[in-house]
Symmetry: C2
Subunit: 178 residues, 2 copies
């Protein structure tokens, strides 16, 4: 039996472009507590695999990390969008140019259970057809085709920092038998 | 060559208990852009393994997720703390009662590269000695000893939602040869 916190009241802190922040008063085990919550519309992440067993990876400068980060392609779900699989297909095309002929849900993950509502739907995408990137105006990212095993070993040995990427590689390897 | 965004100015949005929020104006590929950033002092996550090959897992209600979540033990680094390994030892003891005789860094991961500065140091902890939990006043969590392979299979098949847990299991399996 797990104690469930219930909302008593909610204070709006910030409404932004990619996230909102609120502070809720909740029923706690002993009296009341406050929870700081990041509202986020959710995202998708894609393990995109070529017929030759290569994975499509992207590298971009991540301001929050202060460095370039190697990741699986990903994108956020805009307000009003309710089909994550369609977002995944679109975002893969925009970020990498590839169109996927096959798509499979690997799992849905939360990135920061302590404070973020963001859920990421993770997909495997195969039967890829190359095409042109179509980046947002302020997006700059490099696209690489890399051997899946090489990227997996980087993740497993602690050389990748992006949690969703590590989780996505693990689920893909197991569920696709890679 | 990756374009690096540089800070032009910074606007303080919120200073909270577990996180702060700021909005930075940055140099972008074309002109300027804004980045919404969650400031967080960092955290630790622990893959704690008994001599019998069981992993210590915790389950607690996560208000941001609206449900109970099965996770590896974890905790945040408080302001002024600069030794994540010491925090990991303390948090494992507080959350689960176990004291670890051996600790090994598996990697450092970022949970939300698009907007959060939070880095989680992930440790493997072995040579465990059981003891008493010492939870914060508003913490309620269940502690389980589970076969490592069973939890790994749950993660790999998409049955766990916590990204840091999935990443931690993957790194532990590879680096400890489990």
């Amino acid at each position: 039996m797990i104690f469930e916190e219930k909302k008593i009241s909610s204070q709006r802190i910030y409404e932004g472009a990619i996230l909102n922040v609120r502070r809720d008063k909740v029923t706690a085990l002993k009296g009341e507590a406050h929870r700081e919550i990041i509202e986020h519309n959710g995202a998708v992440a894609m393990v995109a695999l070529t017929d030759e067993g290569k994975i499509i990876m992207v590298e971009q400068f991540r301001y929050a990390c202060g460095r370039a980060v190697l990741e699986v392609p990903a994108g956020k779900i805009d307000a009003g969008e309710n089909d994550p699989a369609a977002v995944a297909v679109r975002e893969l095309k925009e970020e990498t140019g590839y169109t996927a002929g096959n798509i499979k849900l690997l799992g849905r993950i939360n990135t920061s259970a302590a404070y973020s509502e963001e859920m990421i739907s993770v997909y495997a995408m195969t039967k890829l057809t190359p095409g042109e990137q179509d980046l947002d105006e302020d997006e700059a990212l490099n696209v690489y085709e890399m051997p899946f095993d090489e990227v997996y070993d980087m993740a497993a040995s602690g050389k990748l920092i992006d949690a969703k990427t590590i989780a996505a590689l693990m689920m893909a390897k197991a569920q696709l038998g890679l």
